[in-house]
Symmetry: C2
Subunit: 369 residues, 2 copies
């Protein structure tokens, strides 16, 4: 099948564009995570999108590789920020070579990604730059939101702010104004930017490179945007599942980092003893000790928040599927449709009551796809 062959070509291009002859050090830091695997989900979407134009055009492989490099670059910087020790089953770049090299290597991959995309023309370069801006803005808003959302940690030394209030923010506490609106809307915007933007870029760049008609490109972009939101919601739901349900990704990461995800935001809104207890536990600061983590996880799993978040995965997956309706019927369309189904069944997972407590961070790999 074409997609499989094309994925192999993407792999070759990734390797060759990161090979620096005479500089084995640069080559190994740049290829470290790529060599360790990954599902190549974004290149896959780019290649499937390209079938709605002429997938044989020379820029198609380039577009798919550019998107993967931008993704991997963000993983390099994520791991520095989270002080992660492992990624994809191997030591993280920061763990192996230190933060300095990991930050620079992430920057290097961003530049290489731009090099790959540049020949696709100004529209593609603009699209890529705009999507990367969204991605990073989303991450910055997430970092800021940890200090300003309703679900927050004492580490940030922020009082729960009212609308439009001024709060102390950040690890070292600079002052800033925040229009603290609806936390759920804030969260939805964050995940659309930090996750869905790159999926949308994959679809649009693949279609663009293949010369697909603008209305097909737009439909594919709409699909990928909704799919990306469903993907992140699914990830947030699975953060509360037992480790084995996540193919080895340690659970509870969002809780430990104080990232307020949808299940938590919904659960905190509830009435009764459970939500009240949850609010008390969350207000006490970072959920780092195993007992409190287990208690919070249990409360979340029993709350309607988790079920509601699963329903949202379905809702966005359906929205993604509906966007596919504007495309001609084809194996690629069926494959994209199938990806939505996989996501929904992954999110529903085992019944909540059967899942064990979330594991602590370990050497387990994070299936960042």
């Amino acid at each position: 099948m074409w997609t499989r062959r094309a994925l192999a070509e993407v792999e070759d291009l990734l390797a060759s564009s990161l090979r620096s002859p005479g500089d084995p050090f640069l080559t190994s830091v740049a290829t470290h995570l790529l060599g360790a695997g990954g599902k190549r989900l974004r290149p896959r979407i780019a290649l499937l999108a390209a079938t709605f134009g002429d997938p044989g055009r020379p820029g198609v492989i380039r577009a798919a590789a550019a998107v993967e490099l931008a993704h991997v670059a963000s993983l390099y910087h994520d791991d520095v920020m989270d002080e992660a020790a492992t990624r994809r089953g191997v030591p993280s770049v920061n763990a192996r070579w230190g933060n300095r090299v990991a930050i620079l290597a992430g920057d290097y991959l961003v530049a290489k990604s731009a090099e790959l995309a540049a020949p696709l023309g100004p529209a593609a370069a603009e699209e890529q730059a705009r999507m990367l801006t969204r991605l990073v803005a989303g991450q910055i808003r997430e970092a800021a939101g940890v200090a300003t959302g309703r679900h927050q940690h004492a580490r940030t030394r922020a009082a729960v702010p009212g609308p439009g209030s001024t709060v102390r923010c950040g690890d070292r506490g600079g002052r800033r104004d925040v229009r603290n609106g609806d936390p759920e809307r804030y969260y939805m915007r964050v995940i659309a930017d930090k996750t869905a933007a790159l999926f949308a870029l994959a679809a649009r760049l693949g279609a663009h490179a293949a010369g697909a008609r603008p209305e097909l490109r737009d439909a594919l972009g709409e699909f990928a945007e909704a799919y990306g939101i469903a993907f992140q919601l699914c990830d947030d739901v699975l953060d509360l599942a037992e480790p084995s349900a996540r193919a080895g990704k340690p659970a509870g990461a969002d809780l430990r980092q104080g990232v307020p995800t949808l299940p938590m935001l919904r659960a905190l809104r509830g009435r009764g003893r459970g939500p009240a207890r949850l609010r008390r536990l969350v207000a006490r600061g970072p959920i780092t000790d195993a007992n409190r983590l287990a208690a919070v996880t249990r409360l979340l799993r029993d709350s309607p928040g988790l079920a509601q978040a699963r329903a949202e995965v379905e809702r966005y997956a359906d929205r993604a599927r509906r966007a596919l309706g504007a495309l001609p019927d084809s194996p690629a369309r069926a494959a994209l449709d199938g990806m939505c189904g996989e996501l929904v069944s992954r999110a529903s997972g085992p019944p909540a009551s059967e899942a064990g407590p979330p594991g602590h961070p370990s050497g387990l790999t994070k299936p960042d796809s």
Copy 2:
């Protein structure tokens, strides 16, 4: 004069492209260093280069702003890596909002820089991406070289390697192969990449956006490449000067970080008691205590290494001036020529024997121009 008016337009574009309506936090982290000043040396070169075409073209201001954003992005990441507390007389982004926000904000500026450059066309986007790749590769090689050059620190736990030897490298010691050639050639390549590439981008992008003829653009690029090398050599020389000679930048930073600059490499090569003592002092590891820093600085100032490095500043400044010979005579050419003269007189500074010991890091600002 046109350049001054154009610089004001660049300033407006920088501010407007970083303004996120409704998101004061994102706006303030993104504009933090730009608002704190800077000499806008790279936009200035872009604008001067543009006068060799039609400087009224709409992309010219955009090109100048894009280059400055790439520069400021690199400062954000530099400050995280160096754990710098201040920059341009204000708290660094990392000191104010923490490393997470500073890394992301640097990424944001890179993306915004690409957004500004994208409409300039595929050649410009490619040029920008390629130069950013060079910039970061140079920084990575510098980081790697600290562990493999002749002048190195015990912190890296690396033995002085012979050519082609395998060494332990990095804060956490991953194994790697290094073709350890001539350290001075290595250093010259590093500074060409980490510093001159961005100057070359400024000149070439400015000329390109103005539609200057290819041979003029190439001459301007050649000028800026040589100027950039002279600029970095000058910076390395001034690192050994007294703080007041550097407009407040704390001296000795390269020594403390173990970055082997040209004055050191040349001084270490010498014969006699001075160089022998220097080699012993350097071999003892990071030069962090005040006494050893003062001793090393004194030896370097008295060595022929410093004078030789100053001569190299002149040599590259002359090379830059010669490249200008291919351009028609104009006020812009005279201005570029004048910049070379300024650099040479800055590097020659006060007589070495009169300079005091280098200061320790303080709240003083780094004139990163």
